[in-house]
């Protein structure tokens, strides 16, 4: 592969190429920067492309001797995540011109392992509903999803093999599905949120996007500062899958339903144990509890902006989310938390019998239009449960738009979930995807 095409590599592939001397740090970073510059007039994934800073980092990596597991691997960071010396805009004019004075833990951990930050990716307004400028790399008239819109689109379009996002409702898994890349939301609490804007402390989780399933585990280990290793190998005949349609199954379109059930059938044919499962007790009420807690916490977390900068906050966020949140009583807030504790225990009981639950990740492919970012209906409950979840870009609709498959695991058994995800991706023939466009 000519080094100009190095942007096409996954992180695992790029690390191998650099490790063997076939690729230089500067060539990799330059290839990604060139790709970002070439695609961004259309895709608009980047809020701030730190070209000079990234090239300087690449040269330092090239000149240095130490080589961590992410040596010179480029990545992007959602623009609610601080990077020292770079602007952080949080998707709102409130912070126009603000430059971060320190670097968030998730970024610094990848940098400590050798990675190079290519810049800040577009977020929706304060990581909520109001879209940013990003378009879906598969079709420019369609949403990339949100709120981690730019991170998903940057990885899908080949600007970076890795991008960091955050999920409070469905802000990693939905854009991953819409943009046709791999997405992962780890167990709540595992990855430090230091330097990441607080929306809803009870749910906010750093997640990430990649173009191969192996990279999901690589990034997880990097962010936990564990030795990087390939995911455990799981044989498909040992795999126990629960197919969970759940209370919102009818909100998935016919193609999505068909693809999810088709994948389950394919896994069964390959020798996996595949069973239909009912959702855990209390599952249908989880979105209500999520909304109660998220509204209560966000309206308070954002007090300074709400009181000092109200005129530049979108009405839906100010009057909807915040207004609703301020009307929630403490008793209702506490009761919602209490209900989640029970639901998490019920999920733990259910998942004990399976390696993964298989379920839709979105109602369908990315909707047309850029005025909204799609529906998190298939994400909210899992986020509320704090459990790890993967989106695999397993399918397409008739028009070629990506459709994802969601795999859900047991709390703090993320490694086991990703091992199962690798097995399933292999069986479905989607262990990696190429940059689109």
């Amino acid at each position: 592969m000519p080094s100009a095409d190095a942007y096409r590599l996954t992180a695992t592939e790029a690390a191998a190429a650099i490790g063997s001397g076939r690729l230089s740090p500067v060539d990799l970073v330059e290839s990604c920067l060139d790709r970002a510059l070439a695609r961004d007039p259309d895709v608009r994934a980047w809020q701030y492309l730190a070209a000079d800073e990234a090239l300087m980092e690449a040269r330092l990596r090239q000149a240095g001797t130490a080589a961590g597991p992410f040596h010179a691997i480029p990545f992007g960071a959602k623009d609610i995540i601080d990077v020292a010396g770079l602007p952080t805009g949080y998707g709102t004019p409130i912070y126009h011109g603000h430059v971060s004075h320190r670097t968030a833990a998730c970024v610094a951990l990848l940098q400590e392992a050798g990675a190079v930050c290519l810049g800040k990716t577009v977020t929706t307004e304060l990581a909520h509903f109001h879209p940013g400028k990003t378009r879906n790399p598969h079709r420019m008239s369609h949403t990339p999803g949100g709120s981690s819109s730019g991170s998903a689109a940057a990885v899908a379009s080949g600007a970076v093999p890795i991008a960091l996002g955050t999920q409070t409702t469905g802000s990693v898994l939905r854009p991953a599905a819409y943009c046709g890349v791999f997405g992962f939301k780890p167990s709540f609490g595992d990855v430090s949120r230091s330097g990441v804007m607080e929306c809803v402390s009870a749910f906010d989780t750093v997640g990430w996007f990649t173009r191969c399933v192996a990279d999901l585990e690589r990034v997880r280990r990097g962010l936990l500062r564990l030795p990087v290793a390939a995911p455990d190998t799981v044989d498909v005949t040992a795999l126990r899958c629960g197919v969970l349609r759940g209370p919102d199954w009818e909100r998935a379109d016919a193609t999505t339903q068909d693809r999810v059930l088709g994948a389950a059938a394919a896994l069964a044919s390959a020798g996996a144990t595949v069973e239909d499962v009912d959702p855990p007790t209390g599952f249908a009420e989880l979105p209500v509890h999520h909304r109660t807690i998220a509204g209560f916490e966000f309206a308070r977390a954002i007090t300074w902006e709400r009181t000092q900068r109200a005129s530049v906050i979108s009405p839906k966020l100010l009057e909807g989310r915040c207004g609703d949140g301020l009307r929630i009583s403490y008793e209702d807030y506490a009761a919602a938390h209490e209900a989640l504790l029970s639901a998490r225990a019920a999920h733990a009981d259910l998942i004990a019998g399976y390696d993964v639950l298989i379920t839709p990740v979105a109602p369908g492919p990315a909707p047309e239009g850029l005025a909204a970012t799609g529906d998190p209906v298939f994400n909210t409950a899992w986020t509320a449960l704090h459990v790890p979840a993967v989106s695999i870009p397993a399918f397409q609709d008739a028009a070629g738009m990506p459709i994802g498959l969601q795999l859900v695991g047991a709390f703090r058994r993320d490694g086991r979930l990703l091992a199962a995800a690798q097995c399933i991706a292999r069986e479905l023939g989607v262990e990696r995807v190429d940059p689109v466009g």
Copy 2:
């Protein structure tokens, strides 16, 4: 009372005086500023006293018509909490000259209710062990405790009736006890940490210091943005108290043991139900699990500082806390969390039979010397359990140094705990304290 002495008022008293027109916002803020300036050469509670900003705020309050429940009430904020336009130093030279661009939720919520921020109070290094410059207002050769050293000392010395701190181990309750003021750590998760430095996401909790027990509930309601009201009234004859000596009882000095048991006897004499209780299952191991989780998380949260500014981090923090934290395996980290879940359920079962648990808050009065901030041995377990805890300045030793009494409640029943605390404080004759010195 002459308005120059207004600094002696609690927040509840000051609000009443302002509400009735006996005291003006400017006079109150000026009185507190004068007191802060007079005492700070000795006490050294303030990292940054925002005199001009506070006076301007007071004049705006005085000119305005709206009057929230904290109308013109001065408060201080620990210097790991952002206030827009003021420097935030985090107790380390790393951030010398850094000015915050937005205001933390906890500060903004008090401001929204009318309060006036008098400035930033001294913290230990990155809210850990290495002391700041603050001295104990009761005796300058003694530690004020840490890490919320300045907040405790500012309230004790009369510079402000309210100060915000944070507790990850024992950083609110211990300094409250050492400085002879009321301290409260609410249930984990209730108060937004937006704009507060992340140390250990699993435990970090915003707490506060006051000079009367009623103010604890007033601030709690302000920070949850609930209507401010007096605590519920509890009659002592209806009060159910468990006296918990626990596995570390012998680490409390004889005076502390005597005072705690004496308080329990006094409550029993007054008609309360008072019983000795054994700690919940797993209690003795909680400090080990706390250390595992805190080390794991802090070493990662602080990655940028650890990798980019190591030369100005104290060895105990860098090689101790961080070094230890980086050696903890993910499996041990996850197991510690799992153990805490069980212990929290055990605590819930135990506390269901009581309004409060009564237990020491520190091994004794503030130790002599300024090179260390004392021992959190009586705080760690409760922090790990996520439950609310109060320190009441109920006692003194023979030399007149304050000794606190700790009251522990049920998770997310903070209002009930504070109502019980008010009853107990009244019975012990310490519903309020005067500024010292």
